[in-house]
Amino acid sequence: MSGIFYERFGHNKLAMTGSVLVALLFLAALLAPVISPYEPDHIDRYHVLEPPGRLHPLGTDDIGRDVLSRMLYGARVSLSVGFVAVGIATFIGMIMGAVAGYYGGIADRLIMRFVDVMLSIPSFFFILAVIAFVGPSIWNIMIIIGVTSWMGVARLVRAEFLTLKSRDYILAARAIGASDMRIILRHMLPNSLAPVIISAVLGIASAVLLESSLSFLGLGVQPPMPSWGNILTAGKANIEIAWWLSVFPGVAILITVLSYNLLGEGLRDALDPRLWERR
């Protein structure tokens, strides 16, 4: 199995590009203190809104901070929000999906109705409303994105469980007296991981996008903590005089989201046997 996986994944150029880019992004975020030319909060009063040049490779913002340094530190924010939010969503989704799929009946109906309710709320409205009350901060953003995006995972896990439930090896496990917990955790969940992993990787892409939109609106990561979204807020305010403030952070978001999407699609090709014969 893993042999086929590596072969299919390795030969997929887009998937490889995606994973290399994701790795580079993580490296840049980890090494931010080493490679950024300035401290992210360092204010250079003599070079406010300076275009890209020798001193500041990507220019400075409206109070004279180095854009490149802020973007490198911003990468930490985006990548960790994506990771933690999706972790939370996947955890909730797996529990909900497993309970609904394994026990069926009333539990299934209640959970699926709840999923429908969550999917019918314009989630961006909902997220903003909650932020209005709990206040914007990086931790709140992670939690709120997590608890509003688990529904896809729940549906996937439930569907997998429904087909797995009647497999012989599950019946065998039950016959020798394995507990529900053991069957779910040891036998069924590991066998339904493939679609969950794919959707988690794609989910990181949308969480990164969501965080940057929230920060852009001033309801996400709060200044002075740098984030790609809140650099863009300054970009919009100075749209007529400072193109670099708008262009570079946006490119960073675009590349990050794109690489996660490519990685996710590549994993889908490599992990989903139904797609194999077609290519």
Partner: protein, 324 residues
């Protein structure tokens, strides 16, 4: 068909109750009382006055009772008065903004449909061609593009550098003096960028799904039969295949309604368009809590109406649904 409809309407009603309950509980259980907004700014307020205010908004009662009282008023479209300085009824404030947001969303849905479906079909029928590859790259880029960033870039290009399009608002200063044709042109110029920006993600997503849905359908036996009996390719694709390939797309369009409504916050904020999204953003910034609750409810109702329309289209296209 009637049975199907009534079943769907009941389901939608239950969902609506679920949504309002959920929003109500979360907003009420969140730290910080809604009346804090009114009292924090006033250092002279006494505990008695604060209690009176809480009583006025019913905050001293158990939460279930509060919800029921709220629901009873909402049925009559009474969402209470806004906390902002104008203190206008919430429903009035929302009412004047709904048409703006709904028409922009309808326009962008139309744009999504007009671009994504032909693009999806042609890249499926020319699988692996140069055209297919180019559109695939375009789809990935469109999908990864942060809408608000694209909005800023287009504003910079068309508004600031080229001066072709206005960068904010719905109407020009001299709108009232323009002729009928001039008014339409003026609106169109103001709407071009917001509609395109809000549609882009949908165009990318739906054309991708259209492609895979079409690829799936044209492998079916009945398509082979249609080709074998000598029908022209255009007839095979547009009469036989398209109908079935469209089914999942209709569901998807229904599902994309909440995204469009939620997304309106972003592009209305960027382009300063006086719609629901902008109102929502302002209400969040001011913690204007009756207004937040009212907008959440109206947003949910619009979403459910969108879903129901999608269901109806589905039933029209697919006779099997009607008999269920």
């Amino acid at each position: 068909m009637l049975f199907y409809l009534s079943k769907r309407i009941t389901e939608i009603f239950v969902t609506l109750i679920g949504i309002t309950l959920l929003s109500f509980f979360i907003i009420h259980l969140a730290p910080g009382k809604p009346t804090d907004v009114l009292t924090d700014l006033n250092p002279k307020i006494t505990p008695e006055a604060r209690a009176r205010l809480e009583k006025y908004y019913g905050l001293d009662k158990p939460i279930i009772i509060q919800y029921l009282l709220w629901a009873k008023r909402v049925v009559k479209l009474d969402f209470g008065d806004s906390f902002s300085t104008d203190s206008r009824p919430v429903w009035e404030k929302i009412k004047e903004r709904v048409p703006v947001t709904v028409s922009i969303n309808l326009l962008s849905m139309l744009l999504i449909f007009m671009i994504a479906i032909p693009v999806g079909i042609s890249s499926a029928t020319h699988q692996y061609s140069l055209y297919d590859k180019v559109t695939t790259v375009g789809v990935f880029l469109g999908f990864a593009m942060p809408a608000f960033w694209l909005g800023i870039l287009l504003m910079m290009l068309f508004g600031v550098y080229l001066h072709w399009l206005p960068i904010s608002g719905l109407k020009s200063m001299n709108y009232e003096t323009l002729s009928a044709g001039g008014k339409v042109l003026d609106l169109a110029k103001h709407l071009a960028l917001p509609v395109f920006v809000s549609a882009l993600g949908g165009i990318a997503g739906i054309s991708r799904y259209m492609r895979s849905s079409m690829l799936e359908v044209i492998r079916q036996d009945y398509i082979v039969t249609a080709r074998a009996k000598g029908l022209p390719e255009s007839k095979v694709i547009y009469r036989h295949a398209l109908r079935n390939a469209l089914l999942p797309i209709i569901t998807l369009l229904g599902l994309s309604v909440p995204g469009l409504i939620g997304g309106s916050v972003i592009f209305e904020q960027i382009f300063s368009i006086p719609g629901m999204g902008q109102l929502f953003w302002m209400s969040v910034m001011q913690r204007d809590y009756p207004l937040i609750m009212g907008l959440l409810t109206i947003g949910a109702i619009l979403t459910l109406i969108g879903n129901m329309l999608a269901d109806l289209c589905y039933a029209v296209v697919d006779p099997r649904i009607r008999r269920r």
